[in-house]
Protein backbone atom coordinates (compact mmCIF):
# COMPACT_ATOMS: atom_id res chain seq x y z
CA UNK A 1 0.00 0.00 0.00
CA UNK A 2 1.63 3.29 -1.02
CA UNK A 3 1.11 6.59 0.78
CA UNK A 4 -1.51 7.78 -1.73
CA UNK A 5 -3.55 4.64 -1.12
CA UNK A 6 -3.23 5.15 2.65
CA UNK A 7 -4.46 8.72 2.32
CA UNK A 8 -7.37 7.67 0.09
CA UNK A 9 -8.40 5.07 2.66
CA UNK A 10 -8.08 7.47 5.62
CA UNK A 11 -10.12 10.03 3.73
CA UNK A 12 -12.78 7.47 2.81
CA UNK A 13 -13.04 6.43 6.47
CA UNK A 14 -13.47 10.02 7.64
CA UNK A 15 -16.15 10.57 4.98
CA UNK A 16 -17.93 7.42 6.16
CA UNK A 17 -17.68 8.19 9.88
CA UNK A 18 -18.79 11.81 9.59
CA UNK A 19 -21.19 11.42 6.69
CA UNK A 20 -19.82 14.54 5.00
CA UNK A 21 -19.49 15.55 1.37
CA UNK A 22 -16.37 14.26 -0.39
CA UNK A 23 -15.47 17.74 -1.58
CA UNK A 24 -15.12 18.97 2.00
CA UNK A 25 -12.33 16.59 3.02
CA UNK A 26 -8.73 17.45 2.14
CA UNK A 27 -5.40 16.79 3.85
CA UNK A 28 -5.49 20.04 5.85
CA UNK A 29 -9.17 19.97 6.74
CA UNK A 30 -9.75 20.43 10.50
CA UNK A 31 -12.22 17.88 11.75
CA UNK A 32 -13.98 19.79 14.53
CA UNK A 33 -13.79 23.31 13.14
CA UNK A 34 -14.62 22.49 9.53
CA UNK A 35 -16.49 19.19 9.60
CA UNK A 36 -18.35 19.57 12.93
CA UNK A 37 -16.84 16.35 14.29
CA UNK A 38 -17.65 15.56 17.93
CA UNK A 39 -15.58 13.58 20.42
CA UNK A 40 -17.49 10.35 19.69
CA UNK A 41 -16.65 10.81 16.01
CA UNK A 42 -12.94 10.55 16.82
CA UNK A 43 -13.56 7.15 18.43
CA UNK A 44 -15.66 6.14 15.45
CA UNK A 45 -12.80 7.11 13.11
CA UNK A 46 -10.31 5.18 15.26
CA UNK A 47 -12.55 2.06 15.24
CA UNK A 48 -12.78 2.23 11.45
CA UNK A 49 -9.04 2.81 10.99
CA UNK A 50 -8.27 -0.17 13.24
CA UNK A 51 -10.57 -2.42 11.24
CA UNK A 52 -9.46 -1.21 7.86
CA UNK A 53 -5.69 -1.22 8.44
CA UNK A 54 -5.58 -4.16 10.86
CA UNK A 55 -3.88 -2.08 13.56
CA UNK A 56 -4.52 -1.21 17.20
CA UNK A 57 -4.68 2.35 18.47
CA UNK A 58 -5.05 1.99 22.24
CA UNK A 59 -7.61 4.39 23.76
CA UNK A 60 -5.88 7.55 24.93
CA UNK A 61 -2.74 6.89 22.89
CA UNK A 62 -3.29 9.84 20.54
CA UNK A 63 -3.69 12.24 23.48
CA UNK A 64 -0.68 10.73 25.27
CA UNK A 65 1.54 10.93 22.19
CA UNK A 66 0.55 14.57 21.65
CA UNK A 67 2.30 15.34 24.96
CA UNK A 68 5.64 14.41 23.40
CA UNK A 69 6.81 12.52 26.48
CA UNK A 70 6.26 15.41 28.92
CA UNK A 71 4.77 14.77 32.35
CA UNK A 72 1.33 16.22 33.16
CA UNK A 73 2.97 18.96 35.25
CA UNK A 74 5.34 19.88 32.42
CA UNK A 75 2.61 19.81 29.78
CA UNK A 76 -0.22 21.66 31.44
CA UNK A 77 -0.93 24.20 34.12
CA UNK A 78 -4.51 24.66 35.30
CA UNK A 79 -5.88 23.18 32.11
CA UNK A 80 -3.73 25.38 29.86
CA UNK A 81 -0.84 24.08 27.75
CA UNK A 82 2.53 25.36 29.06
CA UNK A 83 5.12 26.97 26.69
CA UNK A 84 7.07 23.70 26.90
CA UNK A 85 3.88 21.82 26.06
CA UNK A 86 3.25 24.03 23.04
CA UNK A 87 6.72 23.20 21.72
CA UNK A 88 6.08 19.47 22.23
CA UNK A 89 2.73 19.69 20.48
CA UNK A 90 4.23 21.49 17.52
CA UNK A 91 6.96 18.85 17.28
CA UNK A 92 4.48 15.96 17.45
CA UNK A 93 1.94 17.59 15.10
CA UNK A 94 4.01 19.15 12.30
CA UNK A 95 0.95 19.00 10.05
CA UNK A 96 -0.82 21.71 12.07
CA UNK A 97 -0.36 25.36 11.12
CA UNK A 98 2.07 26.89 13.73
CA UNK A 99 -0.27 29.85 14.28
CA UNK A 100 -2.45 27.59 16.44
CA UNK A 101 0.31 26.81 18.95
CA UNK A 102 0.09 29.97 20.98
CA UNK A 103 -0.30 30.98 24.62
CA UNK A 104 -3.77 30.40 25.96
CA UNK A 105 -4.33 27.04 24.26
CA UNK A 106 -6.51 24.94 26.57
CA UNK A 107 -5.76 21.22 26.84
CA UNK A 108 -9.41 20.43 26.10
CA UNK A 109 -9.06 22.30 22.80
CA UNK A 110 -6.18 20.19 21.45
CA UNK A 111 -8.56 17.94 19.47
CA UNK A 112 -9.66 21.10 17.65
CA UNK A 113 -6.24 21.09 15.99
CA UNK A 114 -6.68 17.61 14.51
CA UNK A 115 -6.75 17.51 10.73
CA UNK A 116 -7.22 14.71 8.25
CA UNK A 117 -3.44 14.66 8.04
CA UNK A 118 -3.18 13.96 11.78
CA UNK A 119 -4.90 10.61 11.26
CA UNK A 120 -2.99 9.97 8.03
CA UNK A 121 0.30 10.46 9.94
CA UNK A 122 -0.86 8.20 12.76
CA UNK A 123 -1.55 5.41 10.26
CA UNK A 124 1.79 5.90 8.48
CA UNK A 125 3.56 5.66 11.86
CA UNK A 126 1.60 2.54 12.84
CA UNK A 127 2.31 0.84 9.53
CA UNK A 128 6.01 1.73 9.82
CA UNK A 129 6.09 0.26 13.36
CA UNK A 130 4.83 -2.99 11.89
CA UNK A 131 7.38 -2.82 9.08
CA UNK A 132 4.60 -2.58 6.52
CA UNK A 133 5.23 -0.50 3.40
Amino acid sequence: MDNNQVFDEVRAIILEALGVDEKEVELKTRLIEELDAESLDFLDIVFRLERSFGIKIPRGEIERNARGGLSDEEFEDNGMVTPEGLEALQRVMPEVDPIYFKDGLAVRDIPRLFTVETFYNIILAKLAEQGRP
Binding site: L40, D41, L43, D44, F47, R48, R51
Partner: protein, 248 residues
Protein backbone atom coordinates in the same frame (compact mmCIF):
# COMPACT_ATOMS: atom_id res chain seq x y z
CA UNK B 1 -41.22 -12.44 7.49
CA UNK B 2 -40.79 -11.67 11.18
CA UNK B 3 -40.26 -8.21 12.57
CA UNK B 4 -36.59 -9.03 13.30
CA UNK B 5 -35.82 -11.04 10.18
CA UNK B 6 -32.07 -11.44 9.76
CA UNK B 7 -31.16 -9.34 12.79
CA UNK B 8 -28.46 -10.52 15.15
CA UNK B 9 -29.68 -10.32 18.74
CA UNK B 10 -27.77 -10.83 21.99
CA UNK B 11 -29.71 -11.33 25.23
CA UNK B 12 -27.80 -11.36 28.52
CA UNK B 13 -29.13 -13.77 31.11
CA UNK B 14 -31.20 -15.53 28.47
CA UNK B 15 -31.63 -18.99 29.90
CA UNK B 16 -34.56 -18.26 32.21
CA UNK B 17 -37.42 -15.88 32.94
CA UNK B 18 -37.82 -12.68 30.97
CA UNK B 19 -34.50 -13.27 29.20
CA UNK B 20 -35.60 -16.65 27.91
CA UNK B 21 -38.85 -15.14 26.65
CA UNK B 22 -36.84 -12.49 24.80
CA UNK B 23 -34.70 -15.21 23.21
CA UNK B 24 -37.71 -17.26 22.13
CA UNK B 25 -39.76 -14.33 20.83
CA UNK B 26 -36.78 -12.85 18.96
CA UNK B 27 -36.21 -16.21 17.29
CA UNK B 28 -39.91 -16.42 16.42
CA UNK B 29 -39.60 -12.98 14.81
CA UNK B 30 -36.83 -14.25 12.52
CA UNK B 31 -33.74 -13.09 14.43
CA UNK B 32 -30.51 -15.01 14.82
CA UNK B 33 -30.19 -15.17 18.58
CA UNK B 34 -27.35 -15.51 21.04
CA UNK B 35 -27.73 -15.41 24.79
CA UNK B 36 -25.44 -15.46 27.77
CA UNK B 37 -25.89 -17.44 30.94
CA UNK B 38 -23.74 -17.56 34.02
CA UNK B 39 -23.90 -21.01 35.53
CA UNK B 40 -27.13 -22.88 34.85
CA UNK B 41 -26.02 -25.04 31.93
CA UNK B 42 -29.16 -27.20 32.04
CA UNK B 43 -31.42 -24.15 31.67
CA UNK B 44 -29.22 -22.81 28.86
CA UNK B 45 -29.39 -26.12 27.02
CA UNK B 46 -33.17 -26.22 27.42
CA UNK B 47 -33.49 -22.71 25.96
CA UNK B 48 -31.16 -23.54 23.06
CA UNK B 49 -33.05 -26.74 22.31
CA UNK B 50 -36.41 -24.96 22.38
CA UNK B 51 -35.19 -22.35 19.88
CA UNK B 52 -33.40 -24.81 17.60
CA UNK B 53 -36.54 -26.94 17.51
CA UNK B 54 -38.17 -24.07 15.63
CA UNK B 55 -35.38 -24.19 13.04
CA UNK B 56 -33.66 -21.01 14.18
CA UNK B 57 -29.97 -20.51 14.86
CA UNK B 58 -29.21 -20.04 18.56
CA UNK B 59 -25.93 -19.55 20.36
CA UNK B 60 -25.53 -20.08 24.13
CA UNK B 61 -22.50 -18.37 25.67
CA UNK B 62 -21.36 -18.81 29.23
CA UNK B 63 -20.31 -15.38 30.47
CA UNK B 64 -20.27 -13.51 33.74
CA UNK B 65 -21.20 -9.88 33.06
CA UNK B 66 -18.96 -8.66 35.87
CA UNK B 67 -15.87 -10.05 34.14
CA UNK B 68 -14.81 -7.78 31.31
CA UNK B 69 -12.77 -10.41 29.47
CA UNK B 70 -15.74 -12.80 29.44
CA UNK B 71 -18.03 -10.03 28.17
CA UNK B 72 -15.54 -9.19 25.44
CA UNK B 73 -15.27 -12.84 24.41
CA UNK B 74 -19.07 -13.23 24.31
CA UNK B 75 -19.60 -10.16 22.11
CA UNK B 76 -16.75 -11.23 19.85
CA UNK B 77 -18.31 -14.70 19.51
CA UNK B 78 -21.62 -13.16 18.43
CA UNK B 79 -19.96 -10.89 15.86
CA UNK B 80 -17.94 -13.82 14.51
CA UNK B 81 -20.98 -16.09 14.30
CA UNK B 82 -23.46 -13.57 12.87
CA UNK B 83 -21.04 -11.07 11.29
CA UNK B 84 -22.83 -8.23 13.08
CA UNK B 85 -24.80 -7.35 16.18
CA UNK B 86 -28.03 -5.43 15.78
CA UNK B 87 -29.70 -5.71 19.17
CA UNK B 88 -28.40 -6.00 22.72
CA UNK B 89 -30.89 -6.83 25.47
CA UNK B 90 -29.26 -6.21 28.85
CA UNK B 91 -31.40 -8.49 30.96
CA UNK B 92 -29.00 -10.31 33.30
CA UNK B 93 -29.69 -9.40 36.89
CA UNK B 94 -29.68 -10.75 40.42
CA UNK B 95 -31.33 -9.96 43.73
CA UNK B 96 -29.84 -10.18 47.23
CA UNK B 97 -32.76 -8.80 49.24
CA UNK B 98 -32.16 -7.66 52.80
CA UNK B 99 -33.13 -4.65 54.89
CA UNK B 100 -30.61 -1.92 54.18
CA UNK B 101 -29.43 -1.74 57.80
CA UNK B 102 -28.65 -5.45 57.79
CA UNK B 103 -27.34 -5.67 54.24
CA UNK B 104 -23.92 -7.24 53.81
CA UNK B 105 -21.60 -4.97 51.85
CA UNK B 106 -20.81 -7.97 49.64
CA UNK B 107 -24.49 -8.22 48.70
CA UNK B 108 -24.57 -4.53 47.85
CA UNK B 109 -21.48 -4.92 45.69
CA UNK B 110 -22.65 -8.10 43.95
CA UNK B 111 -26.00 -6.60 42.89
CA UNK B 112 -24.44 -3.37 41.63
CA UNK B 113 -21.66 -5.24 39.83
CA UNK B 114 -23.99 -7.67 38.07
CA UNK B 115 -26.96 -5.45 37.29
CA UNK B 116 -25.31 -2.09 36.61
CA UNK B 117 -21.72 -3.15 35.91
CA UNK B 118 -22.79 -5.92 33.55
CA UNK B 119 -25.06 -3.52 31.66
CA UNK B 120 -22.16 -1.10 31.27
CA UNK B 121 -19.67 -3.76 30.14
CA UNK B 122 -21.96 -5.26 27.50
CA UNK B 123 -23.11 -1.85 26.27
CA UNK B 124 -19.55 -0.62 25.86
CA UNK B 125 -18.49 -3.77 24.03
CA UNK B 126 -21.36 -3.68 21.52
CA UNK B 127 -21.05 0.06 20.95
CA UNK B 128 -18.02 -0.40 18.70
CA UNK B 129 -19.57 -2.86 16.21
CA UNK B 130 -22.85 -0.91 16.31
CA UNK B 131 -21.02 2.35 15.57
CA UNK B 132 -19.28 0.71 12.62
CA UNK B 133 -22.71 -0.42 11.36
CA UNK B 134 -24.18 3.02 12.06
CA UNK B 135 -27.15 1.21 13.58
CA UNK B 136 -28.08 -0.64 16.73
CA UNK B 137 -30.68 -1.13 19.42
CA UNK B 138 -29.89 -1.46 23.09
CA UNK B 139 -32.65 -2.31 25.52
CA UNK B 140 -31.92 -2.37 29.24
CA UNK B 141 -34.07 -4.14 31.78
CA UNK B 142 -34.95 -1.84 34.66
CA UNK B 143 -37.65 -2.55 37.23
CA UNK B 144 -40.60 -0.95 38.99
CA UNK B 145 -38.22 -0.97 41.97
CA UNK B 146 -36.24 1.83 40.32
CA UNK B 147 -38.98 4.31 41.10
CA UNK B 148 -41.06 2.62 43.81
CA UNK B 149 -39.24 2.07 47.08
CA UNK B 150 -39.21 -1.65 47.84
CA UNK B 151 -38.43 -2.75 51.37
CA UNK B 152 -35.32 -4.95 51.40
CA UNK B 153 -34.28 -3.93 47.91
CA UNK B 154 -31.97 -0.95 48.45
CA UNK B 155 -29.24 -2.56 46.36
CA UNK B 156 -31.56 -3.79 43.59
CA UNK B 157 -33.54 -0.52 43.45
CA UNK B 158 -30.34 1.52 43.31
CA UNK B 159 -28.95 -0.65 40.49
CA UNK B 160 -32.15 -0.32 38.45
CA UNK B 161 -32.49 3.44 38.97
CA UNK B 162 -28.88 3.76 37.86
CA UNK B 163 -29.65 1.68 34.76
CA UNK B 164 -32.40 4.17 33.86
CA UNK B 165 -29.97 7.09 34.21
CA UNK B 166 -27.37 5.14 32.23
CA UNK B 167 -29.98 4.52 29.52
CA UNK B 168 -30.67 8.23 29.08
CA UNK B 169 -26.98 9.18 29.05
CA UNK B 170 -26.15 6.49 26.48
CA UNK B 171 -29.14 7.47 24.35
CA UNK B 172 -27.80 11.01 24.05
CA UNK B 173 -24.23 9.86 23.33
CA UNK B 174 -25.04 7.18 20.79
CA UNK B 175 -27.93 8.77 18.89
CA UNK B 176 -25.62 10.47 16.35
CA UNK B 177 -24.35 7.01 15.40
CA UNK B 178 -27.81 5.60 14.71
CA UNK B 179 -28.04 3.66 17.96
CA UNK B 180 -31.10 3.88 20.19
CA UNK B 181 -31.02 3.04 23.90
CA UNK B 182 -34.18 2.40 25.89
CA UNK B 183 -35.25 0.63 29.05
CA UNK B 184 -38.19 -1.51 30.03
CA UNK B 185 -39.29 -1.51 33.66
CA UNK B 186 -41.31 -4.60 34.55
CA UNK B 187 -43.49 -4.80 37.63
CA UNK B 188 -44.08 -8.12 39.34
CA UNK B 189 -43.60 -10.85 36.74
CA UNK B 190 -44.05 -14.59 37.22
CA UNK B 191 -40.41 -15.65 37.21
CA UNK B 192 -38.16 -17.67 39.50
CA UNK B 193 -36.59 -14.42 40.67
CA UNK B 194 -39.86 -13.00 42.01
CA UNK B 195 -41.20 -16.27 43.46
CA UNK B 196 -40.32 -15.43 47.05
CA UNK B 197 -41.84 -11.94 46.94
CA UNK B 198 -44.98 -13.29 45.30
CA UNK B 199 -45.38 -16.03 47.86
CA UNK B 200 -44.75 -13.75 50.85
CA UNK B 201 -46.71 -10.68 49.81
CA UNK B 202 -48.47 -11.70 46.61
CA UNK B 203 -52.05 -11.01 47.70
CA UNK B 204 -51.24 -7.58 49.10
CA UNK B 205 -49.25 -6.58 46.01
CA UNK B 206 -51.93 -7.85 43.64
CA UNK B 207 -54.31 -5.36 45.26
CA UNK B 208 -51.95 -2.59 44.20
CA UNK B 209 -51.90 -3.66 40.53
CA UNK B 210 -54.67 -2.14 38.42
CA UNK B 211 -54.96 -5.32 36.32
CA UNK B 212 -55.09 -7.40 39.56
CA UNK B 213 -52.61 -10.00 38.34
CA UNK B 214 -48.88 -10.58 37.93
CA UNK B 215 -47.34 -10.27 34.50
CA UNK B 216 -46.00 -13.06 32.34
CA UNK B 217 -42.41 -12.97 31.00
CA UNK B 218 -43.62 -12.82 27.39
CA UNK B 219 -45.66 -9.70 28.15
CA UNK B 220 -42.39 -7.96 28.98
CA UNK B 221 -40.49 -9.58 26.12
CA UNK B 222 -43.05 -8.30 23.59
CA UNK B 223 -42.33 -4.70 24.63
CA UNK B 224 -38.58 -5.31 24.55
CA UNK B 225 -38.86 -6.68 21.02
CA UNK B 226 -41.07 -3.80 19.96
CA UNK B 227 -38.20 -1.49 20.94
CA UNK B 228 -35.83 -3.68 18.90
CA UNK B 229 -38.08 -3.60 15.83
CA UNK B 230 -38.53 -1.12 12.99
CA UNK B 231 -41.71 0.06 14.70
CA UNK B 232 -39.60 1.91 17.27
CA UNK B 233 -37.22 3.90 15.06
CA UNK B 234 -38.02 7.23 16.76
CA UNK B 235 -37.86 6.17 20.40
CA UNK B 236 -34.70 6.62 22.45
CA UNK B 237 -33.80 7.38 26.06
CA UNK B 238 -37.19 6.18 27.30
CA UNK B 239 -38.30 3.89 30.08
CA UNK B 240 -41.41 1.87 29.25
CA UNK B 241 -43.26 0.53 32.29
CA UNK B 242 -44.76 -2.93 31.89
CA UNK B 243 -46.39 -3.42 35.27
CA UNK B 244 -50.12 -3.86 34.81
CA UNK B 245 -50.72 -0.45 36.37
CA UNK B 246 -48.76 -0.91 39.59
CA UNK B 247 -49.64 1.66 42.27
CA UNK B 248 -51.30 4.02 39.82
Amino acid sequence: MGRLAGRAVLVTGGSRGIGRSCVELAAAEGARVAFTYRANTAAAEATTAAVRATGVECLALQADGTDRSQVQAAVQAVVEAFDRIDVLINNAGIIRDQLMVAMEPDDWDAVLATNLGGTFHFTQEVAQPMMLQKAGRIINLSSAAATQGGRGQANYAASKAAIEAFTRACAVELAPKGITVNAVAPGLIETDMSREVRSLAGDRIREEIALRRFGMPEEVARVVLFLASDEATYITGQVIHVDGGLRL
